[in-house]
Each structure stands twice: as C-alpha cells, then as structure tokens.
C-alpha cells in the first residue's frame, strides 16, 4: 500500500504533470461541465446493431480530461478494482499524448477498450472521484476517457505488444477465453510461458462475444485484443471442452504443468414457475447466443430465433437490459422489463437503463411473473404478473420484495426472456473430484494467489465469484498469472 502511494506521488511530481497543473486554475477546471457522449439517435439505432455510443472526439476528450484536477490523493484509483493510475492517463490525454495514455491503461488493464465500454463506472472509479465525493458535481468521465485512449490506440494500428521475456518452454493451459482467461494468457505469455487457451465454443471471447451485444461492445474491439495475444504467441484451441474433449490428466501427460480455470458462470437459472417450458420462453443466454454468437438476425445465418410483437424480459441486470434492447432491434412493438424490485435497486449499469428508456423500453418494476399461459401449439401467449412491495432489507442489504395478494394481472407476450441470474459452469469441477467447491458450485481459491485445492490449478473470474464483472475477471486473470509464475518458478527451481 505504502509502496504504491510513494509510486503514485513520484509519478505525480514528474515535471510534465506539474506543468500541466499550472496551466489552468482549479477553479476554472471545476467550473467546466461534464462532456456528453456522442450517441446514435434512439430511433435510428433501434433499426440496426450500430454501436450506441460513438466515442469522444479528440477535442472533447482533451477538454474533459482538463476537468480532472490531478488530486494529490486520487480517491478514484481506490474505486477501480485493478487500480488503474487514473490521473496519469487522464493527464496524458489532456496533454495530447494519447498513445501514452493507452500505455498507462495497459499497465494494469488488458482490455481497456472493453472496460471503457462496460465497466459500471458509476459504482467504481467515478463514484470515488473528488467531484462526486466532495463537490457533489458530476464526476470526471473516466470511463469515456478510458475508451477514448484505448480506441485511439486501436485505430492507430500501433497496438503496443508488450515486451516478452525469453521463452522458458513451460506449457500452461487456460480453460475458457473470457476476460479472465484472455488476461491470464497475456500475462503468462509476457513472462515467457507457452500458453494454450482452450475454448468450448467456436469463438474466442466468452461473454464478450456471445453475451454482450454488438450495439454495446462491437466484436472488432475484442478481436483486436485477441489478435495481439496471437502475435504474442498465445495458442487458441476452439471447440475444446476441458474435462470432455480431454481431461486435465490427459493434458498433464501432454506436458502442461499448470492450469487456470476461467470457465465462467454460464448456466442460466429459471424460476420454476408453471408453464416455464412453453415455446417462446427462453433464457437470456439462449436469446443472446442465437443473435450474437450464431448471428440469427442476419439473413444468411442458418440459426433461427423466435421474435414476437410483445417481448417480456424478466430481470433487471445488464443481461436483461441487453436482451430487451435486442428484442426492440428484432422488431418488437412492445419490449418490456419486468423486475421484482424498484428502479433504484436495478443492478444494470445506469447508462444502459437510460439508453433503454430512450429506445422506448417499458419498465414494470415491483412486479414478478408467477405463471405462463400458452396457445394450442404450446407457444406462450400471456403471463400472469404479481405486484410486489418492498419490505425489510435482506442479506444483500436491499429491501426484500414481498408479493401483494390479489394484485395479479395478465399481460400478453409471445416471447419471454428469463434473465434472473446464472450459475457456475460445472464441467471443470465435475471432471476433478478433488477440486474444492462451494455449495453454489464456485471453485474455492486462496484469495491472494487464486490457487485452488489442487496446487497446479488456479481459478478466477465468474467461476470463482459467481456472476461478477469484466474488470474483476480481468483482475483475477492477472493475479493468478503472477501467483502461478511464482509457483512454477519455485517448483522448477
């Protein structure tokens, strides 16, 4: 901790930072208003999969960066799960050194172009910004700036490939190619290891590809980073399910010395209410996979998707928001969110909720489905909804929703997307009887080293945390790589 403080202080006292601070007075800086993200108009964007946010211009980015007063005690950093040196990259943007800004991001984050788009900044860095905490003003747009610097680097074609230590000939395996796995792979490749990433699906990227839609995170943004990993020598094997296509034992025989499980929380939960298996009722994973991974909305794709005029999405998280906005884009006239708590408790990113409202999504809060009804062909046609009220806070600190008797109403819907959470993927734990797991099926790890009960098996991301976030998964990938490097160095010494 102290070491880090000293480092941050010495960085802050570099002449270029000192000069920059003197350029504009703090009074002037704090009187500027926060930049607005450039967006595609709601009526236009719901007719395509175009990315909603189009990014900041150079001028906008530099102006916004100059709002940051380069605090002596930068509280924003403590809000970032991977402790990006936020003032440093922001000041590099103010200075116009955009590639340098991107380098600062890459010191601690492997996928800044992704995080800049999907991190819940309003709960992390921006929640801890001096503007939010002390001035009660809108925070510096850290997320937009992060995305700006990362996009600038991607567009420049000068993606910095980190320096790679001499190859040490040690083979390690990475299970899953989500943000946790990709980060782990990059870190290990940097340290000279021969890394193979095994991915069950036919595409690399995990949730970044099959879950989060194109209008929020274009595939090309992820592909640039995957290409960089390939150039660093990381091998990718798609259509390979560790535990099925080959076991950990098989892979050990092939010379793999250690593994990182970043296999995610991919299993959809259902609610177990009457009629839930009718046609037209599907998990958000199925809905989004058909569209994002299988391209079902494109004419030349063989994969079909059920659409409907009235689409109801159950849940209030990012996955629910992504599903309901996808439904709108597939032509639904009525695309509805049904969420059992109130607007304030909704776990989705604020920006997504705002965008959804602009796109004409209806929100039914304090409401819960209790039964489905179907037509003679078994296709869902309506949903019985029960109203809820908020009672005492529960274990999560949120007020518990309580059903209101006699408040039932019937709402028409030909497509229902169930988005009420996910469970850990059981394939890796099932294939390793000695692996310690929790009663929820997550892998138990040492919180510092992310080492599991099997010494050569490390784990991180959603398979350890349950459904969490991209940035936490990335942070885990990085820490696991450091710990595994230490472990293997000691073991092979």
């Amino acid at each position: 901790m102290e070491e880090r403080d000293t480092y941050l202080k010495s960085e802050r006292s570099q002449p270029w930072r000192e000069d920059l601070r003197k350029l504009i007075s703090n009074k002037e800086r704090t009187n500027m208003v926060r930049v607005k993200m450039n967006e595609v108009d709601a009526q236009v964007r719901i007719k395509s999969y175009v990315e909603v946010n189009s990014g900041l211009s150079m001028e906008q980015a530099q102006l916004e960066a100059s709002r940051c007063i380069d605090c002596p005690n930068p509280t924003c950093i403590s809000g970032c799960p991977v402790e990006i040196n936020i003032p440093k990259f922001v000041k590099r943007i103010e200075q116009g050194e955009f590639l340098e800004a991107a380098k600062v991001l890459k010191e601690t984050s492997t996928l800044p172009a992704v995080c800049g788009r999907v991190c819940p900044q309003e709960k992390q860095c921006e929640a801890n910004c001096f503007y939010t905490l002390k001035l009660k003003k809108e925070p510096v747009a850290i997320g937009f700036l992060e995305r700006f610097a990362a996009d600038y680097e991607q567009a420049s074609g000068e993606i910095s490939i980190p320096e790679i230590k001499e190859k040490n000939g040690v083979k390690v395996g990475c299970i899953g190619s989500g943000p946790a796995g990709l980060t782990f792979a990059g870190e290990m490749a940097k340290s000279g290891y021969e890394v193979t990433v095994f991915e069950a699906l036919h595409e690399i990227g995990g949730v970044l590809k099959y879950g989060i839609p194109e209008f929020r995170l274009p595939n090309r943004v992820v592909d640039v980073e995957i290409d960089a990993l390939k150039r660093m020598g990381v091998q990718f094997e798609t259509n390979f399910i560790v535990g099925k296509t080959a076991t950990i034992e098989d892979l050990k025989e092939e010379g793999f010395q250690a593994f990182f499980a970043g296999s995610g929380a991919g299993l959809p939960r259902f609610m177990g209410i009457p009629g839930e298996n009718y046609l037209g009722i599907l998990s958000s994973n199925e809905y989004l996979t058909r569209i994002n991974l299988m391209h079902a909305a494109e004419l030349d794709s063989d994969t079909p998707v059920l659409s409907g005029k009235n689409v109801m999405v159950i849940g209030g998280g990012n996955t629910a928001m992504d599903s309901v906005r996808t439904a709108k884009r597939l032509g639904a006239t009525r695309a509805m969110i049904v969420y059992r708590r109130s607007m304030d408790e909704m776990p989705a990113r604020i920006e997504e909720i705002e965008h959804a409202k602009e796109e004409g999504i209806e929100f039914m809060t304090l409401a819960n489905p209790i039964e489905y009804f179907a037509d003679e062909k078994g296709r869902v046609k309506s949903v019985k909804i029960q109203k809820m009220e908020l009672g005492e806070p529960d274990a999560s600190g949120r007020r518990r929703p309580i059903p209101m008797e006699g408040s039932e109403e019937i709402i028409e819907a030909e497509t229902v997307v169930v988005s009420v959470g996910v469970s850990p993927n059981p394939i890796v734990p099932d294939s390793l009887p000695d692996l310690e797991t929790t009663k929820w099926g997550t892998i138990v790890v040492n919180p510092d080293s992310l080492q599991s009960s099997i010494p050569e098996m490390f784990a991180g991301g959603d398979i350890v945390r349950g459904g969490a976030t991209v940035i936490l998964a990335m942070g885990d990938g990085r820490r696991a790589a450091q710990a595994m490097h230490k472990y293997l160095t000691n073991k092979n010494a």
Partner: protein, 282 residues
C-alpha cells in the same frame, strides 16, 4: 481440421460418415454425442457418435437428411472438412451386466443405438434388439446390429421387410416370451413416447435417449430443456438418457416443433438454391 474420410449412403436420406477427430475418438463412450457446425453462418446441431476407432482417430456419424443443416452435412464430400465439431458431449450410457436387455431403435435412432447394443453385449448381457422403420429402405445398420444382438426383430410399417407392424408390436412379442430386465429406446419422439408406455405397462425399467433442439450443447442456453419427474433438466448435460417413465413427452414434442415453420421455410429456400444435393453449400 475435421476431415471427412469416408461417406456411405444407407438410403437416399441416411448417410454414414467417418470423420477425423482423434481427441473425440479417444475420449468418447457409448451414449455420447457431438455438436457440428457447417460454414461460418451454419447452425450448431447435435449428432450421436455411432462408433469410433481410437487407433485411426476417427468417429462415425449417421445422419438423416431432415433440414438445412443435415443436408449441408450430407452434401460434403470425402476430403472436405466440417467447420466446427465439438465433443464428446452428454453423459455416457451407464452400462453394466443386468441380464436381458431389450434395445429398441426407430428410424435413424438405430445409429445411436448401435454403440449401446455393442456395449451391453460386451458387458455380458443377453440383448434382444427391435429395429423399426416405415419401409425396407429406411432400415439401417441391420447387419452391424445383428452382430451384437442375441436376437433381432425387424419391423416395418408396410411389411416390406421383417414383420409388418409398429415397433411396439415387436417389443410386445419379445416381452411375452421372456423376462426383460431393462429396456433402452431411441428414435423419433413419438415412437419413444409409445414404446415407453409399452414398457411401463410391463414394469420394465427403461431409458430413452432424447433428441431435443440444442444450441451450445454445454448447458449454457437451456434450449434443450425438458421436464423429467416434474423437474426441468438440460438434455445436453444431464442426458441425453433419462428414465423413460418420468419424461414429459408431450411437452418435449411441443418444444421440438418450436422452430418448425422457420426451419421448413429455410429448407425450401435451401432446396431451391441447391437442386443437386451433391452441390457444396455456401
């Protein structure tokens, strides 16, 4: 990658393919299946592994042309490759010595039945197999099934081969003659429904191998879900085999037809564009 090494037509619509897939050949056991995808924009669809050769690193698939994806697969020639192939998936059949087994296969369901019949026989069971189809040219793998069966009953709807009648009639005949310890049924959903009713009547523990619609095949989407004993199960990870007497077949039949209209339209478009079934699909 996954090269087609040989291709044999059992009938106009049923084809056997041998495919290079050494890892799957090594890992698979009876009851496992694979998911395939043909072309960049192809759909993911499941097929049972009908056999495997570890030494040569190959697996055998038997596929019936029913729609776009199965037609695209059948249109591939020896030497061409399957774009994506993943497996082995599902739980393997639990094979042990039980006594007398009644194995029943309908239509292309005979293909997935073959490795199970073989495994039961090798585990020392007496195996009576009933295979059934609409007519003679739709009966597949008869010789291979015979090799591992103590007795083989062939049924056709029109009597063009074996005995005339439904699969259940062949089953009843066997059950009437001797004590059956366990039954396994694989075929079209309707056939499994009625065959399961038959064994239930006689109190014979029975397994079915279900062929629901699937997407990923790894438990991630829930497209394959069915109700077994009142609980929702995912066929791709919990199955594909289940206790036949606990499966809600009516629900499964409804779910199987979920995409029928879209699939039929896609198939006619495909057929219009590919009049010669040997043409390589785009």
């Amino acid at each position: 990658m996954y090269e087609i090494l040989s291709k044999e037509f059992f009938s106009e619509n049923v084809v056997k393919l041998v495919i290079h897939a050494p890892r799957i050949a090594k890992a698979r056991r009876a009851g496992h299946f694979v998911i395939l995808k043909i072309g960049e924009k192809g759909e993911r669809f499941p097929l049972t592994i009908a056999g495997a050769d570890r030494e040569n690193g190959t697996i055998t698939l038997v596929v019936q042309k029913v729609g776009v994806s199965s037609r695209k697969l059948v249109a591939l020639e020896v030497g061409e490759c399957i774009t994506d192939l993943v497996g082995p998936l599902g739980q393997a059949t639990h094979i042990e010595h039980k006594g007398t087994i009644l194995a029943c296969g309908g239509g292309v369901g005979v293909a997935p039945l073959l490795p199970i019949v073989e495994a039961y026989k090798k585990a020392g069971n007496r195996v009576i197999t009933v295979i059934a189809a609409r007519s003679k040219d739709l009966i597949i793998l008869e010789d291979q099934i015979k090799e591992f069966s103590d007795e083989l009953i062939v049924m056709t709807d029109d009597g063009s081969h074996g005995q005339k009648g439904l699969v259940t009639e062949g089953m009843e005949a066997a059950i009437a003659r001797e004590k059956i310890d366990e039954a396994i049924i694989i075929g079209p959903a309707v056939m499994m429904k009625f065959a399961a009713m038959c064994t239930k009547k006689h109190n014979i523990p029975t397994m079915v191998s279900l062929n629901t619609i699937m997407v990923d095949g790894t438990g991630m989407c829930g497209a394959c879900r069915i109700t077994v004993a009142g609980k929702t199960k995912f066929v791709c990870v919990d199955g594909p085999e289940f206790d036949a007497h606990q499966v809600d077949f009516d629900e499964m039949l409804l779910r199987l037809n979920g995409y029928k209209e879209i699939e039929k339209a896609a198939e006619s478009t495909y057929l219009n564009l590919n009049t010669d079934s040997c043409q390589i699909p785009s």
